[in-house]
């Protein structure tokens, strides 16, 4: 996370060798990215760009999602299976024969994601995946990311969506002016006024709420609704008991 122009996308592009370092070293599974081609690296590291139109070009959604698989030399049978599985998982199966360019912005975004997920890269880089997605689709996306993560895949997400991050509570790396300025668990980072200021973010609503309730002995690092509800629920019940006893 970080302000516009902080260098997030530039860093992301270093991870599959689209950009190579002019200073320092980037390694993927121990291999220096300057010694490998983008084709070799992208087998392991899949990047889904911010703008799906930079990635889509095929005539049908099915072809789009199968393109990389064919290029990587998978057997035709495997290609068909993988494409079907991925389209199913992202709720795109009914668009198999549709042109990606006839779909809405949010749907094109999911096709772009499917086109990368299809070859099951070990590391997945998502640049602003929640743009144009409504709340239900964000929930799907969140579950999907958590599922990939639990299968042992590393997921790197570039995002401005503080509420989405608050609900996932991942490790957060904050960037500003081309440098990493902080890292830590989302609930710590997103409730820290100094860091929020530095990275041009705003606090999630729950963090704002709890900093305004700081006089009542709540922890400071509350960022998601369910924890907020639990903490407030306890306190409010206590108050209610006290009021009942005193009357």
């Amino acid at each position: 996370m970080g302000e516009n122009g902080a260098g997030k996308t530039t860093l992301a592009k270093q991870l599959n060798g689209l950009l190579k370092p002019t200073l320092g070293r980037v390694t993927v599974d121990g291999d220096d990215t300057t010694k490998k081609s983008v084709a070799q690296l992208s087998r392991k590291v899949g990047i889904v760009f911010q703008n799906p139109d930079h990635l889509l070009f095929s005539e049908t959604v099915r072809e789009e999602v199968g393109f990389a698989l064919k290029n990587f030399g998978f057997e035709p049978g495997v290609v068909v299976k993988q494409v079907e599985r991925t389209l199913e998982a992202l709720d795109l199966a009914h668009y198999s024969d549709t042109s990606p360019f006839l779909l809405s912005g949010g749907e094109r975004k999911r096709v772009a994601l499917a086109a990368v997920l299809a070859w099951e890269p070990d590391y997945l880089i998502l640049d602003e995946p929640t743009i144009g997605q409504d709340y239900q689709q964000k929930e799907r996306l969140r579950n999907f990311i958590l599922q990939l993560n639990s299968q042992g895949k590393a997921v790197v997400m570039v995002t401005h969506d503080v509420e989405f991050v608050a609900e996932c509570n991942p490790k957060v790396v904050l960037m500003s002016k081309g440098q990493i300025v902080a890292q830590g668990q989302a609930d710590e980072v997103l409730s820290d006024d100094g860091l929020i200021e530095k990275a041009s973010l705003v606090k999630p609503q729950m963090a704002k709420l709890f900093s305004q309730l700081s006089g009542f002995g709540f922890p400071r690092d509350v960022v998601d609704v369910h924890r907020a509800k639990m903490l407030l629920g306890e306190k409010l019940s206590e108050v209610r008991v006290r009021v009942a006893q005193s009357s």
């Binding site: 302000e3 516009n4 911010q50 809405s104 401005h160 705003v202 305004q212």
Partner: protein, 288 residues
Amino acid sequence: MAGTQGEVIAAHGLGFQYAGSTSKALEDVNIVIRQGEFLLLTGPSGCGKTTLCRCLNGLIPNFHPGEMSGDLFIDRVSVAAETTSELSRKVGYVFQNPENQLFALTVEKDVAFGPENLGLTREEIRDRVDWAMDAAGTVALRDLAPYELSGGQQQRVALAGVLAMKPSVIVLDEPTSFLDPRTAEEVMAAVDTLRRENRITVIVVEHRLDLVGRYAERIVVMDHGRIVADGKVEDVLDSEFDRLSGLGIGLPKVSVLWSLLKRDGLVSERLPTHVESAAKMLSERLRN
């Protein structure tokens, strides 16, 4: 049937079906929007928000073929009687993807393109460009090429280009999606200031109610091509909370929290839409 004074947009029984589609994208839409209103248009993906906005500046039916029914008036003139170029002077549109509307070699030229095509004087064009670039916070980008800019910067340039046309209505389709949260708040605040100072009508299409909720006076919720809720933000969130969450609309987190507490009988007040009002009500209860 022309609308009364102050009505800038009036739709009566508006419907639209895209050519080749089997279902209606808009069905029996009835709405009146007044000069100077700040309206938040929301609803699940595919509910017809963007289709409705496209009708407002004549992109529908002139550029997206299909069948339109009902009546739509902009500034008390039926859109059927106007060309897209006339309509685009009245209704400015900032698209979801700013790359779709930037094309000149410098930001300044891009912002000047609209006014130049209105046949204005050199001085007037210069004044408008300076004003619009300043209002959208893009002065520092003047000599850069749009394609060199970050997504967030492009979004501001697109806004400046629309402002330079001095439209009476601005439609912003997810205007802050590429912006960092601080910049997003700045842009929304700038749009609100412009609206107050120039009595521009602002229509924002947005999934994130927490961002726009504080500026918008009115919320219009669509589902399956129809308007399913229309009213003050606080009223609609309070009375239609369950329905809106059922539609998958991203409600402000404080409102979600409040509804959970209310369900357990721990609070009784109306759903807050801002952190400040929730904090105030909770502080009062906790102080007891």
